[in-house]
Amino acid sequence: MPEPQAYAALAHSLVAASASDELGSAARRLNFYDPSMRSLLLKTVRKVKGRDSDDWSVTLPEIDRRWADMETWRVLKRAAQSPTADYLLAALDHRVDSTGAVVEMPREESIYLQAFLRTIGISASVTLICLLLAYPVSWLLANLPTEKSKRLMLLVIIPFWTSLLVRTTAWYVLLQPNGVVNSLLSGLGLVSQPLQLMFNRTGVLIGMTHIMLPFMILAIYSVMKGISPVYLRAAQSLGAKPLTAFVRTYIPQTLAGVGAGCFLVFVLSLGYYITPALLGGAGDEMISQLISVQTNQQLNWGLAGALSTYLVIFTGFFYFVFNRLVGIDRLRFG
């Protein structure tokens, strides 16, 4: 156990901290290790104030038995360390226990690893959906006569330019239980009762696909536009069946565009915030939302920083690979 002076020093610092409004941030920091620390500090301050003691090492345990517990002092000591790896571990659902070993958090408290996996899962789904929807569209736009394709291209570019919040609002209105989509479906006799289309994964996927799809179409289109039809004809005149010719000569030439599109959509989806926040439900929180909660509501900047670090490293990895393979200069935004 600590020396008696330590008890006295603690009692004085607590009163001083309470006077200078610093008690809150100390309590927050300690609560991070043990959720009962905040109430312990507040209770102790209340009882210590205006009281004098010859021997605080007796008085403090009288105020609360936990001051006689070695574990409480260990928490204090650990929280005093700087820098600490605690936040980086917590962001991956791990923590340091009292013996100094790194252990997994209990299952009911572990949320971040799952959130990272969910974020990757949603981003990958959006990327795949966009690719499947975009490829034929880009192909047609690249092979139509210029005037016609220019006019159709407007239908891609105008939504692309439209404010993200406007488009999310549009889906928010359309997907309501008594909104346009549901009344259309029931009007056509396809459903007997309104489908739940928002505040769940469906809403997130619809909204994000709508926002990401133009990136994919434009990325693939810009590559397809430069592909000469000569190769396809050559392959066919050499005896390849149309499907074989398409798969073996055309698709490989479009891979640069497919790669650029997939990279863009995946990486932008990883950091998505607005659409999942408005159209998603309790089970669809992406990592950006958790960072926002830690920054703005919990005021746990350490944890927010740790989560951001992982997200940036992960995003940066793809950025680096893409820059190496394709070159970031080749990215064209519009």
Binding site: L133, A134, P136, V137, W139, L140, L141, L155, V156, I157, I158, P159, W161, T162, S163, L164, L165, V166, R167, T169, A170, Y172, V173, L174, Q176, N178, G179, V180, S183, H210, L213, L218, K241, P242, V267, L268, L270, G271, Y272, Y273, L278, S288, Q289, I291, S292, T295, N296, W301, G305, S308, L311, V312, T315, Y319, N323, I328, L331, R332, F333, G334
Partner: protein, 272 residues
Amino acid sequence: MKTHYWSRLERWSARWVRWHTALVLLFLVAPILIIMPLSFNSTSYFSYPMTGVSLRWYETVFTDGQWQRAFLNSLGIGFASTLLATVLGTLAALGLSRASFPWRGVVMPLLISPMITPIVVVAAGFYYVFAPLGLVDSYLGVILAHAVLGTPFVVITVCAALQSFDHSLTRAASGLGARPWVNFRRVTLPLIAPGVATGAVFAFATSFDEVVVVLFIGGSEQRTVPRQMWNGIRDQIDPSILAVATLLILVVLALYACTSWLSKRHSGEIPE
């Protein structure tokens, strides 16, 4: 027989591609087209058939002090941050385009990284950096942050414009005695102006559409239009939001017309 089978497959797939494209384009445009008429609905329902036509939601928007302030804020922050981003981005692009620029392969991706970095991370970063400087909840803070987000667009468009720039022109001008500033003002700038202008439009559009940074570092004074919409959706959504959305779509169409005009004047460097 075989050729007959394949040509049928080809015809079938051509038809399928057309249908697929039509449906995907409909998916992209329909939400925007559907909400515009709903902003003229006389009741606060978000469904068709509309109960009647009225301008009451537009009246709400134009007479409401909060929306007026939001529009002014959006324009002010947009113009200030665009000016900053355009000056900084153009200077950066001019430097980067010099053959002697060291570490170009490192500096360029770094300059473009705000575009790729998750916006929440950028916003949280601004919060940490700006809080001790007293820039949180201030116009200056939001303007600086938006300028950072807009700069990469200017760097990209001006770099693209400089790629087709003939450097012998500046050499000729300085050979004829033009000082660097005159050279830049009279030779370089007029030639890259469309690229600069395109970048500026992108930077403005970025700021005008931005909500996450404003949520993190803006106070109630700095509420912009997207921020006001965000509040509206979260609290009590009514068709006045659709009226604002319709107005924003018109702004976008105007901005788009701007860039197509710019790209016609100087083809080949506008991204898409």
